[in-house]
């Protein structure tokens, strides 16, 4: 049986934890508003530029353009975007689980495809480091102050390694920000740029005038497209993380409140029992004297 003092110190401990989780929730909520705004602002550009690209693709590109040609896949890289820090519920775990699922699909296909990982966020870096994966590249500690330059660096590295043949395929796995309480895990192909041929067959392509030329426009736009996509997924993941953190911390605060209530009840019962016991002792003592 716990003594009164034990229970009291536990209550104190839980209370201070509750204060911390409450503060963390507030911080996440404050940051979330800005993160949400920037992701919503970045989405239209990313979407429009990818539409633009699909309008530009021609029959010739499909067999010749290095960014579009489907090479025989020997090396595939998974860009795995997690948070830098924990305490955000199942946010990181879900991503890592999905990545593992992708790896096992790869292995099961039996084509001898080598899977590489490109870690964004400290959590995924630590995870794969521990499991001794070959880490093709990483960007950690970037979410506390997210900068466009980071997206540029990541994109440049990926493009370089894609063009020199280190990777034949680039897949992104990240959390998409759906709402404050909802994240969606997205697995998306970045390179080669996915082109849906069906669309082109259905609607007759418009006869565009190209200035200066189709190829020039494509070459101008493609790096921008990739950068915009990477920048968007960083923002998505950041907003989703803050949302997950807010929910997790809110739950923790509620749980702490319930725990305090139960502990307080036990404390009161214990105290009452002690008092009753003491009175009983005094009364029985007095009675013993009387009869004696």
């Amino acid at each position: 049986m716990a003594t009164l003092r034990d229970i009291k110190s536990r209550i104190k401990g839980v209370k201070s934890t509750q204060q911390i989780t409450k503060a963390m929730k507030m911080v996440a909520a404050a940051k979330l508003r800005r993160a949400q705004e920037s992701v919503i602002n970045a989405r239209p550009y990313a979407r429009k530029i990818s539409e633009f690209i699909t309008h530009l693709v021609t029959e010739e590109d499909i067999t010749h353009n290095p960014y579009i040609v489907q090479r025989e896949v020997k090396n595939i890289v998974y860009v795995i975007v997690t948070a830098d820090r924990g305490l955000c519920g199942a946010f990181n775990n879900n991503i890592l689980k999905e990545a593992m699922r992708q790896f096992s699909i790869n292995e099961a296909s039996g084509k001898g495809i080598t899977a590489h990982v490109f870690c964004i966020g400290k959590k995924s870096y630590d995870f794969y480091k521990r499991r001794e994966f070959t880490i093709a590249g990483s960007a950690t500690g970037i979410f506390s102050s997210l900068k466009y330059e980071t997206a540029l660096q990541i994109t440049t590295e990926l493009i370089k390694k894609y063009l020199d043949g280190t990777f034949d395929k680039v897949i992104l796995i990240y959390n998409e920000f759906k709402s404050i309480i909802q994240q969606r895990i997205v697995t998306e192909q970045l390179l080669p740029v996915p082109v849906t041929l069906n669309n082109e067959e259905m609607e007759k392509p418009t006869d565009f005038i190209f200035e200066p030329g189709q190829k020039e426009i494509f070459n101008y736009l493609l790096p921008k497209h990739l950068k915009a996509q990477i920048w968007r997924i960083l923002l998505e993941s950041n907003a989703a993380e803050l949302g997950a953190k807010m929910t997790a911390m809110d739950n923790a605060t509620t749980n702490a409140k319930e725990l305090i209530r139960v502990l307080q009840l036990t404390y009161n019962k214990e105290r009452q029992a002690a008092i009753t016991k003491e009175i009983l002792e005094i009364v029985s003592g007095a009675n013993a004297q009387k009869t004696g």
Binding site: P44, Y45, I209, E211, K224, W231
Partner: protein
């Protein structure tokens, strides 16, 4: 005459979305204007001025930092790298950026990205030029 549907998007937000009579853009092969029923065209854009004629008595001026335009079926989509309306350009900031870029180009410190510095200089000069030319004299610069 019907209107064009114009949408201008930059990486940080949708800057303009609405209907207008015409739009003039700084194309790589020369400036051009898009009116109703313009032939489908795709073009890259240079640093320069984008002019939108909303109707006969309202015209908007923007400083653009390069990008692309797609015109198809009277829908105009401009993807601009940067875009500011003339009344919201911060002239002092542009002037500072210009000085900085000039210095970088002149000093030729090894490791400086010359191309980037020249690009920055061009953009800053474009902003200043557009403010001088197109800022309505009676309007108050919203940044000041």
């Amino acid at each position: 005459m019907a209107d064009l549907n114009i949408e201008i998007v930059t990486p940080s937000k949708i800057t303009f979305s609405g209907q207008a009579k015409s739009i003039s853009v700084p194309g790589t092969d020369g400036n051009f204007q898009v009116l109703f029923n313009h032939a489908p065209i795709m073009s890259t854009l240079e640093i320069g001025l984008i002019k939108i004629n909303i109707d006969n008595n309202k015209t908007l001026f923007f400083a653009a930092g390069g990008g692309t335009i797609e015109v198809n079926n009277n829908n105009v989509l401009v993807l601009a790298d940067s875009l500011e309306e003339v009344i919201s350009i911060d002239v002092e900031r542009a002037a500072r950026a210009m000085e900085r870029a000039k210095k970088r180009i002149e000093e030729k410190v090894p490791g400086t990205d010359l191309e980037r510095a020249q690009f920055a200089l061009k953009r800053a000069m474009n902003r200043i030029l557009i403010v001088e030319k197109y800022l309505p004299k009676d309007s108050v610069n919203s940044r000041l």
